[in-house]
Symmetry: C2
Subunit: 313 residues, 2 copies
């Protein structure tokens, strides 16, 4: 399969080749690592922006408007939308087609949905790798969009240079947002649908909570922007604040530190995935299946069985 993908074409930004490479990654095909190794030296130029928040916050609309704003400046945009998959259709519910109506087909935009069915754990790895493909393919900015409560928001933060958390007035009292761990990863907040009642109150409560966050004079202080994405209101402000955050990261050296940390996590993840694959040989998987009955009958404990399996190494 890998032979079908021309690295040369990919580096020229050929859309079909880029799409095919991402499919290989998404499917966990064997050729993926080879391609990723080949393109790796050509990555690192694109700036990666994570956009996350609760369901219904308007992330897709906001992502599309932001992409349009960048396009007007002739900046090449890649979008990776991580859609938790429907268990019934087996595919992402809001696929590429829906998105295409907003951001027109334009050779400077590449949009891709990735499904997360049953493999949320591996999603950060795949998202990063798909971003690498877009990066090597010549995109200047990569927008990574996902629903964020729980693990997925950490995945996004682990793949992005700047992370934007989108909330709405209904997202509640800010405490819920804190509970969801979104505070931890936000480089700044966007309060979308800010024409709805309760917007100013929501902004205030987010700011109050941010005030508790330990910070000093020189470090970056997350702000809250109000937007109405459907009307394009506040999009330029988001673009400007991203640019300001990027500059901050570059000037303080934080960008390199963040990327270095991400690389460490990434290598660890590659190693651990491979360890898992190598460990669970057909033989060991069968040994596990044989032993489960004894565990279910309380003749053995799961810890004993795990230890025996580990001893076969």
């Amino acid at each position: 399969m890998a032979a079908l993908i021309s690295v040369e074409h990919l580096l020229r930004g050929d859309r079909r080749t880029v799409a095919r490479a991402i499919s290989l990654i998404e499917n966990g095909s064997s050729g993926a690592d080879e391609i990723l190794s080949a393109i790796y030296p050509h990555t690192g130029k694109a700036y990666r922006i994570g956009i996350t928040g609760p369901p219904g916050a308007g992330k897709s609309t906001l992502t599309n408007k932001l992409a349009q704003w960048y396009r007007k400046q002739n900046i090449r945009i890649g979008i990776i939308a991580v859609d938790p998959t429907s268990p019934f259709t087996g595919g992402a519910l809001l696929g590429d087609r829906v998105r295409m109506t907003d951001v027109e087909l334009d050779s400077g935009v590449f949009i891709r949905s990735m499904a997360s069915r049953g493999s949320l754990g591996g999603l950060s790895k795949k998202t990063r790798e798909a971003a690498d493909v877009l990066d090597a393919g010549g995109m200047d900015i990569i927008l990574l969009e996902t629903v964020g409560v729980g693990q997925s928001e950490l995945d996004i933060a682990g793949a992005a240079d700047t992370t934007v958390v989108v909330l709405v007035p209904e997202s509640g009292d800010g405490i819920q947002a804190m509970k969801a761990g979104l505070m931890e990863i936000a480089d700044f907040f966007v309060l979308n649908k800010a024409d709805r009642p309760g917007a100013d109150q929501a902004v205030m409560s987010i700011k109050m909570i941010l005030g508790f966050r330990p910070h000093d004079a020189i470090s970056w202080m997350p702000d809250v922007l109000k937007t109405v994405a459907t009307e394009g209101k506040g999009i330029q402000e988001i673009g400007d604040l991203i640019a300001r955050h990027r500059l901050h990261l570059q000037q303080t050296g934080s960008l390199m530190i963040r990327r270095r940390k991400r690389m460490k996590d990434r290598i660890e993840e590659i190693v651990q995935d491979q360890l898992k694959i190598e460990f669970w040989s057909a033989e060991r998987s069968q040994q596990l299946l044989r032993e489960i009955d004894a565990v279910m009958n309380f003749q053995r404990t799961p810890y004993q069985v795990a230890k025996e399996l580990l001893n076969t190494l």
Copy 2:
């Protein structure tokens, strides 16, 4: 540390001992596995119910009311509430104290919050283990409550016999719920805050989506219940439906199949955690740190470094 925990006391349901054992698990202390092995033969009696849904759906209130309902029937209840942790306070935001005001201190109820800070991956393991402690400690029913979007809902489904997904009219058009993957794990739905506008519409759209789900005449068909948890409305109906689902699982043999599958996942998880711990020796961690600069300078690829690390095995 482990010596301080008397398995005998734990099996008698001594509250302090139970609390201490769960703390050991939560902190990942070394003595935890020993205790879990010792109590394992005394588990399997409690019925485990997962309660999940988006932030603000009223899960805590509903859990407390359901616990009160069980208590009236003299059923012993354990509650494990998984709170994503605040990054600022370092502890669960809504801790045991808040919860205690509703369900009174009563020797038949044991309530415990577990924080998920930075370790969402390991949460399913810890939740299951804490449930084992409550099970061995003599609880009849264990309620596992967590915010569910992304990985955490899969964790809950992986630890529970029956999984209840709580939504509210504002949870939106049902499509968002499907997107969030909640449909996949729900044994039934609760539409809480059903006195709010849009409740009937929300119920209808959930039912419509459920209609698409492949099912046959004998298999369980998830239903939707309406509740107003703050007023105690619909709580009995939840309790009854849980009982009906439990009976269904027992009569069809599905309970054993579910528990067997869970045990398989659990043993795999124990093995993989241990593999990871054993692999990342001080030496290998340092090798990784040494190599990162070369990767950042594009002299090497992350895949090469990962491969070399794996070759040291």
